[in-house]
Symmetry: C2
Subunit: 423 residues, 2 copies
C-alpha cells in the first residue's frame, strides 16, 4: 500500500463490513494488544528465580551481596551480558530493574552536568533537540517531552534510521544533541540496524561536539526465528571511527526474566562509563546485588541466556505468526494496509489507510479490543498521516490474539470503507 | 568538655602517650569504623529472604508481581510500613533499593520542574539554599554539593535541629528552600526530634512558599534499647499546621534486611505524592514488586518488623555499649572529649579537643584503624572547629570494636597532649 487514495470499490463493501463489525461488537470481547508485556506463560519460564539465590548463598567473588557497595554491579552477571552485547565487561554497568531509568539518568546528567567532550550542561545551551526515527517508542518520546527536549523525526528503514536524513539534521545544527535508536528488532517496526548504517551513524560529522546516540538495545537477544540476528556493534564501530563517546547502549532482562524485577545494563566508552559512575555515586551506594546474583545463578552463562530465549521464542513465535497470517488472510488483497513481519522483538507495525489509524483504534475499542493509541509511535503522540498502529501480541494467549486480530482486521477494513464511501 | 583550651597538665603525659601509641602501631591492626554498614551477623537475620517468595508464589492481591506496573509499590508492604511510619498507606510509596535515590529524585524534580505551591523550577530561581543541621549526614551534603545547592548550617540539639536558628534563616530569605533532618536517632549524634521541635519546624513562617523539609527517617525502628523512641509525626503535624506539603519523609529497609537489596519508601502529603508519581511515571514503569512481596512475606506485619529489629538490637547494643564504656574508662576524667550515648541508630558522635579531629583520624589510620574522615559530618567536608568524629561500630565483631575503640582513645589523648605540649 502507498499513501495513494483507497480503492473506491471498497465503498461497496461498507454495508457488509458494518454487519461484520456489529457482530464483532455483539461478542462482548475484552482483549488487549496495547503493551509489550510478557505473558504469564513466559514469566513462568523464570519461576525458579523466585527461590534464588537460596538460603546460605550470599557471596560472589568474595563480595557479600547483601551489604552496601559495588557501584558497577556484580562482575559475574556483567560478564554474561558483556558477551551477549559485544562489549568489554569493564564498559558494562549492571544496575537496577529498569533501563528506562538509565536512559532518564543519562539525559538528566547531560542536562545538569554536561557530557564528556561537551561544553557544559545541556540545560544551559538553549533548546536541545533529539532526532527521533518514526515510528518509534513512545516512552523515549515521553522522556524528551518531560525534559523539554525538542524532537524532530526521520523515517525508519528496514536497516535502521534513514542515515541521510539523520546526517542532514546533525551536520549544521549544534542544538541537535542526540538520536534515539532501537537497534535490534526495533519498536515497533522490527528493523535491525545494519553495519553500514551503524558505521555511518557513528562517523557522520555532527555540529554538536557532544552528540550522543541512545542505543536502546532492548531486544538484543529476543529472536522470533532460529536465525539469531545481531545488530551492528555500534560501541566498537564508534571507537574505530574516532568517536568513542558517541554511543550509549541500554539493555535489560525485563523481557528475559521478570518485567519490572530484572536487571538493567548500560554500556559505553570508558570515558562515558566513568562519567556516568561519577554522578551515579551521589544517588546510589550500589545496585541490588542480590538480584544480580540471582540472575547470574539462573543463567549460568551467555549460552544459558540464549537457551532461555529459545523458550520465549516457542511461546511468542506462534502469536506473531497468527498476527501476520490473519492480516494476510483478511487484508492481503484489499490494499488497505501494510505490515511488518518482525524476526524478533515484541511488536508488529501496521500502516493503515492514511487518516484512519485513530478511527481503527476507536472502532476496536468500541468492540472491546484495546490497541495502543494511534499516534503513540510518533513524538507528541501525533502521527501526521494518522496511519501507524502498533500491535503487541505477547501478553494474551494465542486464541485471544487470533480473535483480537480478526477483529482488528475488520476495523481496518471498515475504516477504509468509510473513507472510500465518503470520497 | 567545652571549646576551652586543653588542660596544660596533659603535656606531661605526652611521652607516656607516645609509647602507648607506638605499642598500638606495633599491633599491626586493620580495623574499620568508617561506615554505618550492618555486620554479616545482622544480615544473617534476614537469610530466609534469599529463598523468598519461593517458586509458585508470584501474586499479591491479584497482581502478578513478575510483570510491569504498579508505580506506587505493593500495597501489602506499604501497609506494614505505613503503620510503622505513622502515615496513611495512600501517602506512602514503596520503591527500589535506596532511599538516597528518592531524595535525589525529589531534589532533581524540584530543580527541573518545581514543587506544588512553588513558582516553577528551582533551577530557574537563582541560587538555592538548604539548611543543614551539623553534625549531619555526609551523603545529604554531597547531594546538595553535586546539584549546586548552597548549604548553611545550624547546630543540632538533643531534640533535633536548633529551631530558633532554622527559623531565623528561613524567615526572610526566599532562596532557602529546604532543610535536612534525620528525625530518629540522627546521623551522627543520635538525637530524636521532639514533638515541640517538629511542630515549630512545620509551622514556622518561611519566605519561600515552597519550602521543604527532607525528613530522612532512616532509623525509624532502629532502637538500641527496649524503650522504642518515636520521633514526632511531622507529616501529620504539617497538615495540622496548614502546611501539608512541607514535609517529605524517606525511609528504607537497608538496615532492616539487606543493605543495598531492600525497599525504599517515600511518604508525604497527597499533593506531594501525586507530584512525585507524575514525574516518576516518565522514568519508571514500576518498582521491583517481587522484592516487595519477598519483604512482605518475610515480615508478615508491623509487629514482625519490630520483632526483627529486636534481634538487630541484641547484636548492636553490646557494640555501642563497648564504645561508650571504653571512651568513659579511657577519657572520662581527661577533659579531652565528649560523646553521645545514642539510644538507637548507627553512630556515636565524638567531639575531641578543637583542632585535633583530623589529627586523631590521621593517628588512627597510621595505627590501622580506619575512621570516617574528619569534617565528613559537615557540608563541604569542613568542620570549622576540626572537632567532630563519627564512629560507626556496627560492622566489626564486638572484640574488634573494643580493640579499635581502645586505640581511638589513645589517639584522642595523644592528639590532645600534642596540643597541650605545643601551647
Amino acid at each position: 500500500m502507498t499513501d495513494a487514495a483507497v480503492d473506491p470499490a471498497l465503498a461497496a463493501r461498507l454495508p457488509k463490513l458494518r454487519e461484520l463489525y456489529s457482530a464483532l461488537q455483539d461478542r462482548g470481547l475484552s482483549l488487549d494488544l496495547t503493551r509489550g508485556k510478557p505473558s504469564a506463560e513466559q514469566l513462568d519460564l523464570s519461576e525458579s528465580l523466585l527461590a534464588l539465590p537460596g538460603e546460605g548463598v550470599h557471596t560472589a567473588g568474595g563480595t557479600d551481596v547483601r551489604n552496601y557497595g559495588g557501584l558497577d554491579g556484580l562482575p559475574q552477571l556483567r560478564e554474561i551480558f558483556a558477551e551477549l552485547l559485544g562489549v568489554p565487561t569493564a564498559q558494562l554497568l549492571a544496575q537496577d530493574n529498569a533501563s528506562l531509568r538509565l536512559m532518564w539518568d543519562t539525559l538528566v546528567q547531560a542536562l545538569l552536568f554536561g557530557v564528556p567532550g561537551g561544553e557544559g550542561p545541556w540545560s544551559q545551551q538553549g533548546p536541545i533537540t533529539f532526532v527521533c526515527p518514526v515510528p518509534g517508542y513512545d516512552r523515549h518520546f515521553a522522556i524528551c517531552e518531560e525534559l523539554g527536549i525538542r524532537m524532530v523525526t526521520v523515517p525508519m528503514t528496514p536497516d535502521g534510521p534513514d542515515v541521510e536524513a539523520v546526517a542532514a539534521l546533525v551536520a549544521d545544527d549544534p542544538s541537535v544533541k542526540g538520536l534515539w535508536v532501537v537497534p535490534t528488532y526495533a519498536n515497533p517496526d522490527g528493523s535491525v540496524v545494519s553495519e553500514d548504517v551503524a558505521r555511518r551513524l557513528v562517523s557522520m560529522p555532527t555540529a554538536a561536539p557532544d552528540f550522543r546516540i541512545f542505543w536502546d538495545n532492548a531486544y538484543a537477544v529476543h529472536h522470533l526465528t532460529q536465525h539469531e540476528t545481531t545488530s551492528a556493534n555500534a560501541i566498537e564501530l564508534a571507537a574505530e571511527a574516532g568517536n568513542p563517546d558517541r554511543v550509549v547502549m541500554f539493555a535489560s532482562t525485563s523481557k528475559i526474566t521478570f518485567a519490572g524485577a530484572g536487571v538493567s545494563f548500560l554500556a559505553s566508552s570508558p570515558g562515558n562509563i566513568a562519567w556516568f559512575k561519577q554522578h551515579l555515586s551521589f544517588r546510589s551506594i550500589g545496585p541490588d546485588k542480590v538480584n544480580q546474583l540471582r540472575h547470574a545463578l539462573f543463567f549460568g552463562d551467555a549460552a544459558g541466556v540464549r537457551a532461555h530465549m529459545a523458550k520465549h521464542r516457542e511461546i511468542l513465535a506462534p502469536k506473531f505468526a497468527a498476527v501476520t497470517r490473519i492480516l494476510g488472510e483478511r487484508l492481503g488483497d484489499a490494499g488497505v494496509a501494510t505490515w511488518t513481519d518482525p524476526q524478533g522483538g515484541y511488536f508488529v507495525s501496521v500502516d493503515v489507510v492514511p487518516g484512519t489509524a485513530a478511527r481503527v483504534v476507536e472502532l476496536a475499542k468500541a468492540a472491546g479490543i484495546a490497541l495502543t493509541p494511534a499516534g503513540a509511535t510518533f513524538p507528541y503522540g501525533q502521527d501526521p498521516a494518522d496511519r501507524n498502529i502498533r500491535l503487541a501480541p505477547s501478553m494474551p494467549p494465542l486464541a485471544e490474539v487470533e480473535t483480537a486480530m480478526d477483529g482488528v482486521a475488520t476495523c481496518i477494513l471498515l475504516a477504509a470503507a468509510e473513507v472510500a464511501a465518503a470520497a
